[in-house]
Symmetry: C2
Subunit: 324 residues, 2 copies
């Protein structure tokens, strides 16, 4: 036990991982092992910041997210794994906050768990390379396995860890316009929705099979930085993900009127030759992949539908980093 | 050839058939043989009216729908079948009109083809009982096989004809509130969308398999006039139909922002104990099954989302009838 470090605190920052090909559904045999392979980009500018210190002797984990204490059980498996690896039984005091809406389909759990995993690992004296942290962060939230990396990542089906596909500067012209259709927390967590889909959707098997078939083309389109080619595959992936959810019993529907307006706008823009390719996750928000040169136009067009909102514009961002 | 009847004209009226369990996809081996069984209600008050006469000697079919001449090839297979049955080669002059939006997902083709089939059959001296007309009307548009009947119908998978399940007065309290979200014609015909789903959706097989599994429960819920039980099954059916379309390549999406608002409103109403169960077809419109006693409230709530629209309220309606 390294009692000498008990007054230390570590702050880590991570950005959310936006899946271009979707992770939806878990395999048996481990915690958060994905049934489908995913490809993702880490979104610079959106940040989860976690400050981790040891808890006073003999007390358990205290977790405060955006100023509110959280039930510790969501964090326990990941924190226990870290304690196990470090052979250190102390509890943690964790304060985490996001500079973007939480639990609203903006992958805040990917960046949140990545930041906490990183800060706690460093506090414990464990290695903090993304390759080492990925399988640990995964235990907290599947997509956190990707968010520890910057740039572009691949998380194969069934894998304990994600891997880096391309570095953060691989595609400098790429932009992601994040339209926050509704900032409220989602009605059903992605964890619960995935499980309901697996359990009750007659399309789940086909979803898993088909997602594997999309992977090779997705990797190729990304390697070529071909936004149109990638966009077509992205749409297949997210539409099939949502199709598998609609078929669940009860049907799961994260879309809101504004989501549809945003995605129909993208369709219209593409009809006018503008590369604007949307994707969505477990929530009503819409993320539009476009090129730097089209961002202004996309924002202008969005203005008509969302006069009171200013979308975030993200570039491919860095992975986990520490704040001294 | 019955030349003596050449100055006669017949007018028939039919109402659209709203599927509660959906027909989506065709089997091989015939024209419009459904891959999935459907259960439907014929919607009183919405009417297609067809006036049919023989064309002048030696001229082909002339078809005018809502005042506009139509390419005759959509009607040819059904009209040829009628001519074949009657051993009469004459062409028809057909004028058809709807008192509700056409080709916008309100099943106007079901009522339109049913009315034309009926009027032409009578003109030709053929039998006009729904049982006789159903397999003929089906050739024009699958769901027309149901629309020749009033009340509640069943159209089994692969069947040449629909059959009557319950008469028009079986469930007098049932109402269908038809919200015309957008009156424009749909972007892709249901015929083309079905075919694209069959050809390219990885969920199509599961859709067909699952639709068969829903049938028994659907028939039972309808027999019991249990709106809640029926509503749950209806939602499964239409959500899975749309899920199979989202997964097509390219994705097929008929929903518009207003569609989502209407269906989320139904969810909210159900949360307040009001029986309001929506369904949708190939188009953005939303049809809400409710009870007579709740219609006023449903209309009031819809008013907030659709201030400029007055939804139609239909009851179970009669089948094909003739106007003297």
């Amino acid at each position: 036990m390294k009692r000498e470090s008990s007054t230390q605190e570590i702050t880590a920052v991570a950005s959310p991982s936006l899946a271009l090909l979707k992770y939806w559904g878990k395999q048996d045999g481990g915690i958060n092992l994905p049934a489908t392979p995913s490809i993702a980009v880490t979104l610079g500018g959106l940040e989860s910041r976690a400050r981790v210190a040891f808890a006073p002797d003999g007390t358990g984990d205290l977790i405060i997210l955006n100023g509110r204490e959280q039930p510790p059980h969501h964090f326990a498996p990941m924190l226990n794994e870290l304690r196990h690896l470090a052979r250190d039984e102390r509890g943690f005091v964790i304060e985490s906050s996001n500079n973007f809406p939480t639990a609203a389909g903006l992958a805040s759990s990917s960046s949140g768990f990545a930041a906490v995993a990183g800060a706690a690992a460093r506090l414990l004296g464990l290695p903090t390379e993304p390759e080492q942290l990925s399988p640990i962060a995964r235990i907290g939230s599947g997509s956190a396995a990707r968010a520890v990396f910057g740039g572009f990542t691949l998380w194969p089906a069934g894998a304990l860890s994600a891997t880096a596909l391309h570095p953060v500067d691989f595609w400098p012209e790429l932009r992601v316009v994040v339209v926050t259709v509704s900032a409220g927390a989602k009605s059903i967590s992605s964890r619960a929705a995935m499980e309901a889909t697996r359990r009750s959707s007659p399309y789940y098997e086909a979803w898993v099979r088909d997602a594997a078939a999309l992977l090779e083309d997705g990797i190729e389109a990304l390697a070529e930085r071909d936004l149109e080619k990638l966009g077509v595959i992205m749409r297949r992936s997210y539409m099939r993900m949502f199709g598998s959810m609609l078929a669940a019993d009860d049907p799961i529907l994260y879309w809101r009127a504004g989501s549809l307006n945003a995605l129909l706008l993208c369709e219209e823009l593409r009809g006018r030759g503008i590369q604007a390719w949307e994707t969505m996750d477990a929530g009503p928000q819409v993320k539009i992949l476009t090129e730097e040169s089209s961002v202004e136009l996309v924002l202008e067009e969005l203005q008509a539908y969302f006069p009171e909102k200013t979308p975030l514009v993200a570039s491919p961002g860095p992975g986990l980093r520490f704040v001294d």
